[in-house]
């Protein structure tokens, strides 16, 4: 497969994955509670697309996923899009600047994404003056939501990576291998000169 066709396949795969996740989110997970809260896959998906594909795909996917959720659930339009855009972009920048490789990176990124999404949603709702419960109950739901999303983050990351594999701009494993090779000096352009 040529590099251009790989790049072309990425938006299609992201779109298909986003639609599937939103359908599962509102069709199944909205009625399943763990520790009294729902599993929220949308922030995780936006963050993982950013983490695997970069900041621009992450932000664009976050915006589209948020818009889809706001439309499907007849919520205030724009809130989820705004938050997931920022989540996707931030995860993408993390990849571009730090390129973290640890096994727990998806868990930490997932927890941070869920935290940003939940707290951000609460703040925007408060700013908009929505008459909503403000209390320890809300705090508890946010904390438990982050915990539950952290638990599902790793398996979900593997699913997202599997779904996007082959069309990502740069395969993380290939990147790691090349980095290892550079560190040993075997394939470094400097060693050839």
């Amino acid at each position: 497969m040529s590099p251009s066709s790989i790049q072309g396949a990425l938006p299609m795969r992201i779109a298909a994955l986003s639609i599937a996740v939103v359908v599962i989110q509102i069709g199944v997970l909205s009625e399943v509670t763990v520790f009294g809260v729902n599993i929220e896959l949308a922030p995780l998906l936006a963050a993982f697309i950013g983490l695997l594909c970069g900041s621009i795909p992450g932000a664009a996917a976050g915006f589209a996923i948020g818009l889809l959720i706001d439309l499907a659930l007849v919520q205030t339009m724009g809130i989820t899009s705004l938050l997931l855009t920022l989540v996707g972009f931030w995860a993408g920048r993390l990849r571009e600047i730090r390129d973290p490789q640890g096994a727990l990176v998806p868990v930490i990124v997932g927890a941070a994404a869920a935290g940003v999404a939940f707290v951000g949603y609460a703040l925007i709702e408060f700013l908009l003056g929505v008459d909503a419960p403000v209390s320890l109950q809300l705090l508890r739901d946010i904390v438990l939501g982050v915990v539950v999303d952290s638990i599902v983050a790793l398996p979900f990351f593997l699913i997202v990576r599997r779904a996007l594999q082959g069309s990502m701009p740069e395969d993380p494993r290939r990147r790691r291998r090349s980095r290892r090779a550079y560190s040993t000096g075997g394939l470094s352009p400097l060693s050839r000169s």
Binding site: L29, T33, I56, L73, M77, G78, P133, Q137
Partner: protein, 314 residues
């Protein structure tokens, strides 16, 4: 090259953020008949058959996951039910002596409620989607305006009041549950004619708070709470009288006459509901008819003493 990439990245981010803020501002500023709301209703119309299909396909998965979740909660539920059973036995023994009076009251209440519901047409609907957010307590159902469903129609099931319709598309509708912070219901303790306002309790939306009761209301634990309904315009209630809402769990404050209420309906995991359509118009015509009869002597006697402004809706 690097500078171009950075500029492109910043431009995309700024574009998406600005687009989101424009959407948010426009949506929040417009009325429910505005363009973006129409787009949402249109989207709901388009995706409701897909949601219907997905709902049917994913139902076994949801049931399986729900079964595991249910098993985990079963022990707690059993203990809670045992203690409730013990309480109910005690109350049955205590109230046996007043059974005759209670039966008469219940019969009157039943007749009352049937009279109130007689003007409604019931539309059975299946629940398609439950809101995943802790901010919105809503469900989507598979029947809409093509079945005569309109905004503000009351929604019930076999256990009691579920909520009211807040958005309608031809083949689907959105229902805000009674635990949604935007829904307020005119309600009373069964047997009392003093109405108050029922709304989700701040800090615990799954618990309801019936407040603004007058001092004459003598509520006790396990008392039934039902819709009070009114037929007097302009304070006409959108909910007919006599629909069970829940039971009193505790007295919140003696001084402010507020009681905590546990919903009678298990609102999470609803599968089927009934929408009461066409009611308010019928009740308006009934009230107008009664008022026009000289021998009736006015309709005030048939209306409950609400003593509060009608604030149902959101």
């Amino acid at each position: 090259m690097y500078g171009k990439t950075v500029r492109r990245r910043r431009m995309v981010l700024a574009l998406l953020v600005v687009l989101s803020i424009i959407l948010l501002t426009a949506y929040f500023g417009e009325s429910s008949s505005g363009g973006l709301h129409s787009v949402q209703r249109g989207f709901m119309t388009v995706v409701s058959p897909i949601q219907d299909g997905a709902n049917a396909v994913l139902k076994p998965v949801r049931s399986a996951v729900g079964w595991f979740g249910g098993m985990l909660k079963a022990k707690d539920e059993a203990n809670k039910l045992r203690s409730e059973l013990a309480q109910l036995r005690k109350s049955v023994v205590a109230e046996r002596s007043d059974r005759k009076t209670l039966e008469e009251g219940r019969q009157i209440a039943e007749v009352d409620s049937h009279t109130q519901l007689a003007g409604y047409r019931r539309v059975a609907a299946e629940v398609l989607v439950a809101s995943a957010s802790i901010w919105y307590e809503t469900i989507d159902i598979d029947k809409g305006s093509s079945e005569g469903i309109a905004v503000n129609d009351p929604v019930i099931n076999g256990e009691g009041l579920v909520g009211k319709v807040t958005a309608v598309a031809p083949e689907a509708a959105q229902v805000s549950l009674i635990t949604d912070s935007a829904v307020k219901v005119s309600a009373r303790v069964a047997g009392s004619r003093q109405a108050g306002i029922l709304q989700p309790k701040v800090g615990n939306p799954s618990d309801l708070l019936l407040q603004y009761l007058s001092g004459k209301s003598k509520a006790a634990e396990n008392d039934l709470v039902e819709t009070s309904g009114t037929v007097e315009s302009p304070y006409e209630s959108i909910f007919p009288a006599g629909i069970p809402i829940g039971t009193v769990t505790s007295i919140e404050s003696e001084s402010s006459y507020a009681v905590n209420v546990r919903p009678a309906v298990e609102l999470h995991g609803l599968d089927h509901v009934q929408v009461l359509t066409g009611g308010p118009a019928s009740r308006s015509s009934l009230a107008a008819g009664l008022a026009s009869l000289p021998s009736v002597g006015g309709s005030e006697g048939s209306a409950p003493e609400t003593g509060v402004a009608q604030v149902e809706g959101g």
